[in-house]
């Protein structure tokens, strides 16, 4: 344990960006939890008298075409964006880890079927597949989550399968088998817990991408509907004002989006350094 801490300190010292990312992460989590309460204005209240105002002391991030306070909308949107990404990642993590773990452990026909499924998903450009899924299943937030989960599935399946097939032949698994453990017991008690650390890295690398994906889908008009505050749709609303110079409508939600993704990408890198220093690129 002590060695682990030493290593963690070493990684953090080597890469101060990771420390920064941790700080940013806590800030964003706080915002997701309390953003709605802390917002200075009602994110949905429009007031055409103050429409399209540049950032000022009263409205730090300015106001949009309906006079809504952009700061309040950006703060409120944090929770929805995080919720979408988190539930998508959780869904693909659970399904992917179980399928991949089983595939790696049992091998044979099950492994081929799971592998084929992952390959088929990967045969599509992933964002395009997500568009197709949302178009087919219906335009709703739940389907955005589902589509984002499906396109992330192959990554979890692959990591879990590789780890499980390595573990299958490990000595302690052999020992557990000799001690009379059935397959289900070995999988649940010995294999599954051991594939979690590499899966954690995959999750944090994946969160940023999931947020980007969900925001991209709502940017093209899928899922979240106006007037719900959500970063992607807010950028889309601000897009038409960019060419006339009202930059703040798109900039602030876009910057929030970027910061969140940046934070998760840095965290993912940092976590990978922590868990597996050799794989650092």
């Amino acid at each position: 344990m002590n060695a682990m801490f030493k290593h963690a300190r070493y990684v953090l010292q080597e890469n101060p960006l990771t420390l920064f990312a941790f700080g940013l992460f806590f800030f964003l989590v706080l915002l997701a939890a309390f953003g709605q309460v802390l917002a200075p204005y009602d994110p949905l209240a429009s007031d055409t008298a103050v429409a399209l105002q540049a950032p000022s002391l009263a409205h730090w991030f300015g106001t949009d075409q309906l006079g809504r306070d952009i700061l309040s909308r950006v703060m409120t949107a944090t929770r929805l964006d995080f919720a979408i990404a988190l539930s998508a990642v959780a869904l693909s993590f659970i399904i992917g880890s179980v399928l991949g773990c089983g595939a790696g452990f049992f091998g044979g026909g099950f492994e081929r079927a799971v592998g084929r499924t992952a390959d088929t998903i990967m045969a599509f450009p992933l964002f395009v597949l997500a568009m197709g899924i949302v178009a087919a299943l219906g335009n709703s937030v739940a389907n955005i989550v589902l589509a984002t989960a499906v396109i992330n599935l192959p990554f979890y399946i692959r990591v879990a399968r590789t780890e499980a097939s390595v573990l299958r032949n490990a000595e302690f698994i052999e020992a557990a088998r000799l001690a009379g453990g059935g397959n289900a017991r070995i999988l649940a008690l010995h294999i599954y817990p051991n594939i979690l650390p590499p899966m954690m890295v995959q999750i944090s690398l994946n969160m940023g991408w999931a947020i980007l994906n969900a925001a991209g889908l709502s940017f093209i008009g899928l899922g979240v509907r106006p007037p719900t505050p959500e970063w992607g749709i807010m950028v889309a609303e601000g897009a038409s004002y960019i060419i006339t110079g009202e930059w703040w409508i798109a900039l602030f939600p876009g910057a929030a989006l970027m910061l969140a993704v940046f934070c998760f990408n840095l965290l993912g890198d940092g976590l990978r350094d922590l868990i597996d220093p050799r794989r650092r690129t």
Partner: protein, 341 residues
């Protein structure tokens, strides 16, 4: 020592791509049948009468069982029939074929720009490992991949169109007063070159530059990172040590030996890069009103016009399978070990 000819390799890779292609066709078929509620009602449009819906159901063969429907779907695909757009009344396949070159030109030019910047950056970061240039490139590439493409596009438009006035208005491939060059490849840059029309070439380049840079910023990160990692592996390899021990110049060591070998893993990651790019392409087309297949799909999506969306997904998937095939063939040409297998 006789190596098998390249054609054999290409043929074998082609066979290898068949399962992916089959998977893609099956999934798109499932997606057309997965429409919630009555697909016929969806395809007929919101304002259709019950009789019209019945008509559509017959037309689409939705009254048959699934196996028959699938066969019908296959035969339609074989004839290049992707259905009709409700909003324009045009066959989907015609529209897609007309718009595909615009999307391809944007994607390929974006990839070219990204490669031109990312590969030297990756090489520099690897040869000067842990120097400031390594850290800066790490920061830039992480930031680049964190930027939502649609947001980057808007930022670029604000700076270069609104503030500086350097870029033309972000509306399509040419300004409204110019007319497109005679279609040969469908790529405006190449076609205007073929027509020896320098004015048109600059005009289309100007329109292309900003959206292409947007795409490039997004895919620079994976390319630069992969190049750096592959370069580090190549530079610390035994054969690089040999070249150093043999006293070859630094140029030969880094470029003729390490870089060429490092490009092999980079080429294999191009598949993932294309997956990113084809997705980003949709968003960039919307931001820049680029008349490609992505913009077409978004318009149809908003209008609940499903045939074009499904045609688009299928086209993109097939395009992606083909691009992966090209990458595979390219790889087996560059790497003599692959060709010999």
């Amino acid at each position: 020592m006789a190596r098998k000819p390249v054609w054999g390799t290409i043929f074998r890779r082609l066979l290898g791509a068949l399962p992916s292609l089959a998977g893609v066709v099956v999934v798109t078929f499932i997606l057309t049948r997965a429409l919630p509620g009555d697909p016929a009602a969806f395809f007929a449009g919101a304002a259709a009468t019950p009789e019209a819906v019945e008509e559509v159901r017959k037309q689409l063969g939705l009254d048959k069982n699934l196996a028959q429907q699938f066969l019908r779907y296959l035969s339609e695909l074989a004839h290049g029939d992707l259905g009709q757009s409700l909003t324009t009344g045009q066959p989907v396949s015609t529209e897609l074929v007309n718009r595909l070159p615009a999307s391809l030109e944007l994607t390929l030019f974006g990839l070219l720009l990204a490669a031109v910047v990312a590969i030297p950056l990756g090489v520099l970061a690897a040869t000067r490992r842990d120097s400031w240039i390594d850290h800066v490139s790490r920061l830039i590439t992480t930031a680049g991949v964190s930027l939502p493409v649609f947001f980057t596009g808007l930022l670029l438009i604000y700076i270069f169109y609104f503030k500086l006035g350097w870029a033309p208005s972000p509306m399509g491939r040419l300004d409204p007063y110019a007319s497109a060059p005679a279609t040969v490849t469908g790529f405006f840059i190449i076609d205007s070159l073929l027509a020896r029309d320098l004015g048109l070439l600059t005009a289309s380049l100007k329109q292309l530059l900003l959206p292409a840079i947007t795409m490039a910023i997004f895919v620079m990160a994976p390319l630069a990172r992969m190049t750096r990692a592959a370069m580090l592996t190549a530079l610390s390899s035994d054969y690089t040590r040999t070249t150093r021990a043999m006293g070859l110049s630094r140029y030969t060591v880094v470029y003729r030996y390490a870089l060429r070998n490092a490009l092999l893993p980079v080429v294999t990651t191009l598949g993932m890069v294309f997956s990113f790019m084809l997705g980003a392409n949709v968003l960039v087309e919307k931001v820049f009103s680029w008349p490609g297949i992505g913009a077409y799909a978004i318009e149809a999506l908003v209008a609940s016009d499903y045939a074009p969306v499904q045609g688009f997904v299928l086209t993109m998937a097939i395009l992606y399978v083909l691009l992966n095939l090209v990458i595979d063939v390219l790889y087996s040409i560059i790497d003599p070990r692959m060709a010999a297998q």
